[in-house]
């Protein structure tokens, strides 16, 4: 029953695009396509004539998509962001999850909602994974910098690793800065002096 809906996903990360496609396929939609960048957006909309376009809320190409709806009336394919004013909670959920949906040719609301709900669930998962990944990466980078700073101190002052760390921590506390900031400053200074 859902196979007649044509869904276009704009996503440049192939893994993420595949996951979204899988989720939609599981939901019963099969007429799906993906493009990586909005460079080809205008052409794709003309040739493929999708009913719904799903795009990451943070994708800068969204502004281009908005324009197609507002200015390019000549193409006769009105593209509009899907907002259901009777159901603000869903639009709110979409924004929080980081997905936006655009509807071509003013499709019926009840046909879009299940697509968007599926997308919200999937995008919400990405957003959570991404922030965890970012935090983990940052922690790892910070630790490397702190290790290098400790190494510099151990060599320069002939102290133990614990003493080196305590020195970094004390300096940070005295100056009201973070340990990582003091360590970064030390590493940068050492690089300059080499």
């Amino acid at each position: 029953m859902q196979t007649d809906l044509k869904i276009l996903v704009v996503e440049d990360d192939p893994q993420k695009a595949r996951d979204i496609i899988d989720a939609l396929t599981d939901g019963g939609w099969t007429n799906l396509s993906v493009i990586g960048s909005a460079g080809a957006l205008e052409r794709t909309i003309t040739t493929q004539d999708p009913d719904i376009i799903l795009i990451d809320l943070a994708n800068p190409d969204r502004d281009t998509l908005e324009h197609l709806g507002l200015v390019s009336n000549a193409r006769n394919r009105p593209v509009a962001m899907f907002v259901d004013r009777t159901d603000d909670a869903m639009t709110q959920a979409a924004i929080s999850a980081g997905v936006s949906a655009y509807v071509v040719n003013g499709l019926m609301k009840d046909r879009i909602k299940p697509v968007l709900e599926t997308a919200i669930a999937r995008f919400g998962m990405f957003a959570k994974m991404q922030s965890e990944l970012d935090a983990a990466k940052q922690a790892l980078t910070d630790r490397k910098t702190i290790d290098r700073a400790k190494g510099l101190l151990i060599r320069a002052r002939n102290i133990s690793e614990d003493e080196a760390y305590n020195l970094l921590r004390k300096t940070a506390m005295d100056q009201g800065r973070k340990v990582i900031d003091v360590a970064t400053a030390l590493v940068t200074a050492a690089e300059l002096l080499q």
Binding site: A58, N59, P60, R62, D63, T64, E66, T91, I95
Partner: protein, 392 residues
């Protein structure tokens, strides 16, 4: 006193400087605000987050609050502009192919002559010009159309306006996808560094006093949070005043370049703040008067007549009733709140909240709350004037 936490969305452009200065130099903190700046990936994303209250304030293109209040473009909501954050600051550029053709036909780039430039531009193009702007509801698009439609040989089929995110503008020009572009700094100067493009006009040569960015806020939120709104207006007013002093410019460039908010090198920030713009990569930078104005000549005042001007353009684009739209638009530009917020600072403010747009050929003394103040110039290149009060 406990400070009020507020979130403000912005796009990393040079004209977001008042926000960054308000935060870094503690003007916001002095006003009792704990200001968090949230970088946004696009104007659409910024709009959506403001409409749904994920952010309290937003650095917006001046037509955006009006378009949203008129219910146009995706998420709409009643959005107010509490103040103007910057006047002018955009540039218009062309691809190297077009530049060569125009020069070949005898045109000389003086970077200040809209009429001669549109004549040359339209004379050498044998297909519709593809023109890139950052957003459909932008002063960029309004200025381009104001400029080109004045040319005697112009017809709507001579141009095609497309939206291209500013960081992609240079590449689109290089790939031949765009013939002309209009962007805010640093993206004009960046386009020169990454392509053979040339800049042909500053936005200020089309309208000398075009409101470029405004501080947007949800109307309802403003009603519920008058203290935060007043504090934010005062903080940005002080930041803008600081930015306006020439002796602060080198320090401002340093602060903006060092700030994680902008993530741009010195040389990308410098041209806009000093008003010294190079029109081609490797060429000498020329001083351009009034290139980007954060504060001078009551630049921060949200004139109701500016709202009317913007509203009329939007009405033409979308076939809306002119007078009904104007009424909504004028209510968006909150000169009333702006006056209230600045009263305790003893700031000299214009006597009226309305002016005849385009009427001041030079600087003129006008009546103000403290006697007199200097405004203008605010001319359009065509000499057109817009007296909205007279029409009603």
């Amino acid at each position: 006193m406990k400070s009020i936490q507020v979130q403000c969305g912005y796009l990393p452009l040079v004209d977001s400087a008042p926000l960054i200065i308000a935060k870094e130099l503690k003007f916001a903190a002095q006003e009792g605000l704990d200001l968090t700046l949230q970088k946004q990936p696009s104007w659409s994303a910024l709009r959506d987050r403001l409409a749904f209250g994920h952010i309290d304030f937003a650095h917006m293109l001046s037509p955006m609050p009006i378009a949203m209040s008129l219910g146009l473009g995706g998420l709409s909501n009643r959005i107010d502009a509490l103040m103007v954050m910057s006047v002018n600051g955009t540039v218009i550029g062309v691809s190297s192919e077009l530049n060569q053709k125009m020069s070949g036909a005898g045109w000389e780039n003086t970077f200040d002559n809209p009429k001669a430039t549109s004549k040359a531009l339209l004379a050498v193009s044998d297909r519709p010009l593809r023109i890139g702007v950052p957003f459909p509801f932008s002063m960029h698009r309004m200025l381009l159309e104001t400029w080109l439609t004045q040319d005697p040989v112009f017809s709507p089929d001579r141009i095609e306006i497309v939206t291209v995110p500013p960081p992609q503008m240079a590449q689109a020009v290089t790939e031949g996808a765009l013939d002309v572009f209009c962007v805010g700094e640093p993206w004009g100067s960046v386009a020169l560094q990454h392509s053979d493009a040339s800049l042909i006009l500053p936005g200020s040569s089309i309208w000398e006093f075009a409101p470029e960015k405004v501080l947007g806020v949800r109307h309802e939120w403003a009603e519920e949070n008058p203290t935060a709104c007043r504090a934010m207006i005062r903080a940005l007013y002080k930041a803008a005043r600081w930015l306006n002093l020439p002796e602060n410019t080198p320090l401002a460039v340093e602060i903006l370049a060092r700030s994680q908010h902008l993530d741009l090198p010195d040389h990308a920030i410098d041209p806009a703040l000093t008003g010294r713009i190079a029109t081609r990569s490797g060429h000498d930078a020329k001083p351009t008067a009034g290139f980007l104005n954060f504060h001078d000549k009551a630049a921060n005042f949200p004139w109701r007549s500016q709202a009317s001007w913007i509203s009329d353009v939007i009405s033409r684009w979308h076939g809306l009733d002119r007078d009904a739209s104007r009424k909504i638009a004028r209510a968006c530009f909150r000169s009333d709140l702006y006056r209230e917020a600045l009263a305790p600072l003893g700031v000299n403010l214009p006597g009226a909240s309305e002016k005849v747009e385009g009427a001041m050929a030079t600087s003129v003394a006008v009546a103000s709350t403290m006697g007199q103040m200097i405004l203008g110039p605010d001319r359009f290149f065509s000499g057109a004037t817009f007296d909205f009060e007279g029409e009603e």
